[in-house]
């Protein structure tokens, strides 16, 4: 062993204090905050729907075709059958959000599993899974949803499942790409040299690092699912037992020229919610951007 080595003392090196910049990064983005606020209002209304408007929103409660602000009892008016529009909007918010979040969760679950397994193991498993993903992508998503709902029954569960099944390929491709680049990283090598199992490496080591772009996409997926459900209900293929924004738009279509508020109100609600989710997605994208963290 050589003797001319300078013997520097191993000092207790100063470790910088933990930075707490995440919260301020959130709040510095007005569009992200606006998205959160809108979604927050919609969610709150959906949660307290039964308190605000007890009873079934499909009940005929007043005279038909009241315009908004015409009567204090029905602030947003009534439709052609005398159903309260405000009650429909609030209860419809619940349906839209349930569908949106459960469909996105199903899509996330399938997509993450398929993408992670294919991207991590590569080879034959990857080849097969990529082909299956491409097969799903060749079918127009909305058509696939229509077919699945037509084969099954138009219940909330089946609709959510159908939208989830139609939307997982996007997530699968994203997760696969992330896994393919992350599995080459040295920290994955290190995990392997420590004797970790493949399952642990996939879910504990790699997945948390692959999540940021997936979370961003998921928020947009929720918005997409809400739109798909609205489209289904507009085509009268939604769950007939619940009021949703899509079915309200569909019902008001005939009277578009005389009573345009019947379609405009649920349409605005849909647009605002989808906009809010997209704003949140954009905001998350910025927040997860590694260059943001340095500031």
């Amino acid at each position: 062993m050589s003797t001319n080595m300078t013997s520097l003392p191993v000092t207790l090196l100063a470790v910088p204090a933990a930075k707490n910049g995440r919260l301020s990064a959130f709040l510095r983005q007005p569009t992200f905050v606006a998205g959160l606020l809108i979604l927050g209002v919609v969610m709150t209304l959906a949660c307290v729907a039964d308190l605000l408007y007890p009873g079934d929103p499909q009940d005929l409660v007043g005279p038909p075709l009241l315009w908004p602000f015409q009567k204090t009892e029905f602030q947003l008016g009534t439709d052609s059958l005398g159903r309260d529009i405000a009650a429909g909007l609030v209860h419809g918010a619940r349906v839209s959000l349930i569908i949106g979040f459960s469909a996105a969760s199903i899509g996330l679950l399938i997509g993450t599993l398929v993408g992670a397994v294919g991207g991590y193991f590569g080879g034959l498993a990857d080849n097969v899974l990529v082909r299956v993903t491409e097969l799903f992508q060749t079918v127009p998503a909305f058509l696939l949803v229509v077919v699945i709902v037509a084969i099954g029954e138009p219940s909330l569960k089946v609709i959510a499942l159908a939208i989830g099944i139609a939307s997982w390929p996007t997530i699968a491709r994203l997760v696969r790409a992330q896994f393919r680049s992350l599995r080459e990283q040295d920290f994955v090598m290190a995990a392997r040299s420590l004797g970790y199992s493949d399952t642990r490496i996939i879910f504990v080591e790699i997945l948390p690092n692959a999540l940021p772009p997936v979370v961003v996409t998921a928020s947009v997926m929720v918005a997409g699912a809400i739109l798909t459900e609205t489209g289904l209900s507009f085509l009268n293929m939604g769950d007939p037992n619940v009021v949703s924004w899509g079915s309200m738009i569909g019902d008001g279509r005939e009277m578009l020229r005389t009573a345009w508020f019947l379609t405009a109100l649920p349409g605005t609600a849909t647009a605002l919610t989808v906009l809010a989710l997209n704003l949140i997605g954009d905001g998350l994208n910025e927040i997860f951007n590694p260059r943001m963290r340095e500031r």
């Binding site: 062993m1 930075k19 040295d186 290190a190 040299s193 948390p208």
Partner: protein, 312 residues
């Protein structure tokens, strides 16, 4: 019995129908408590050799005997007891630590996976290891991005030590660090070796770093070992023109030496198109006709080293 005994090891990749031998017929040993340096240019297969020995990359032929047992054919669960006994320190202190785990999690997971002790025992081992690498215990609750390069490399060393291995493959552990930090990390590695009786396979492209450190040196060129011997012998009397060029590449204040220095021409050829005969001949200024016909074998010299050159 040697701690590590590698015999005729080969690692090949298949790429576009061609076979690429990143490691080609390599044999060497690492004894208990010994440090063996592995030197060569980027892309010559040193890292692949290190990873093959640790079974992170599959080998295609040959034996890797670890304290007597051939681990080359093992896979899955059968490898786990050996994983504990050999570890790796990586070159890039930024990519080698999971950015989403605190230092404590990083170290604790390894102990949990190998079922080593209960909570108090694991805490004791973690504290002991973090003290050993010269980091304060407050570092345990921090994430990797909160540390500097040198500190991160200490965390990487702590992770390699936590399972108390016998052999550590150091894959260019200081080449990504500032020169001032390099000396600190090298000193730490020397101290650890002395205190824990570790054996190192020390991979580097820089002869001057290897000088601080190693008992024996292997010089690798295009997947093969072209010269091996004790560090002193190689430094004072390199017999292979490639070793000579590597030594001459170390910066020196000696003007006389600079004038006679051998500078390598050209780039390392692709491992998928190895030249016929001696694989160094295209860049060798002594190359003759014989070199393109006949591949030189690794021969033992009277001066103590082994050289693969016809004219050594």
């Amino acid at each position: 019995m040697q701690l590590l005994d590698v015999e005729n090891l080969q690692t090949s990749y298949h790429s576009h129908g061609r076979i690429l031998r990143a490691v080609d017929d390599v044999s060497f040993t690492v004894g208990k408590g010994e440090t063996v340096g592995l030197v060569g240019e980027s892309g010559c297969g040193k890292s692949t050799l290190g990873k093959t020995i640790l079974r992170l990359v599959p080998s295609s032929a040959g034996q890797i005997r670890f304290s007597g047992a051939d681990i080359a054919p093992l896979s899955g669960k059968a490898l786990i007891p050996y994983r504990r006994r050999m570890q790796m320190i990586f070159q890039d202190p930024f990519g080698s630590l999971n950015p989403r785990q605190t230092v404590r999690t990083l170290l604790d997971t390894a102990l949990k996976v190998h079922r080593l002790g209960d909570v108090t025992e694991r805490t004791r081992r973690i504290n002991e290891t973090i003290d050993r690498v010269g980091l304060p215990r407050t570092a345990l609750s921090r994430y990797p991005h909160e540390f500097s390069g040198g500190q991160r490399q200490r965390i990487g060393i702590a992770r390699a030590l936590i399972l108390e291995p016998e052999l550590i493959v150091c894959d260019e552990p200081v080449s990504a660090l500032d020169v001032s930090i390099q000396a600190q990390i090298l000193n730490l590695l020397v101290d650890l070796k002395r205190d824990l009786g570790l054996s190192y396979l020390f991979i580097s492209h820089d002869m001057s770093v290897v000088r601080y450190f190693t008992d024996r040196v292997l010089v690798m060129y295009l997947g093969r070992i072209v010269e091996s011997g004790s560090y002193e012998t190689l430094w004072s009397n390199p017999r292979h023109p490639y070793t000579r060029a590597l030594i001459d590449a170390v910066p020196s204040y000696d003007a006389q030496k600079k004038r006679t220095a051998v500078v390598l021409k050209g780039d390392l050829p692709s491992a998928s198109q190895v030249p016929s005969g001696c694989r160094f001949r295209l860049r060798c200024r002594f190359a003759q006709e014989r070199c393109s016909d006949e591949e030189p074998a690794l021969r033992r010299m009277p001066s103590g080293q082994s050289v693969a050159c016809h004219f050594a």
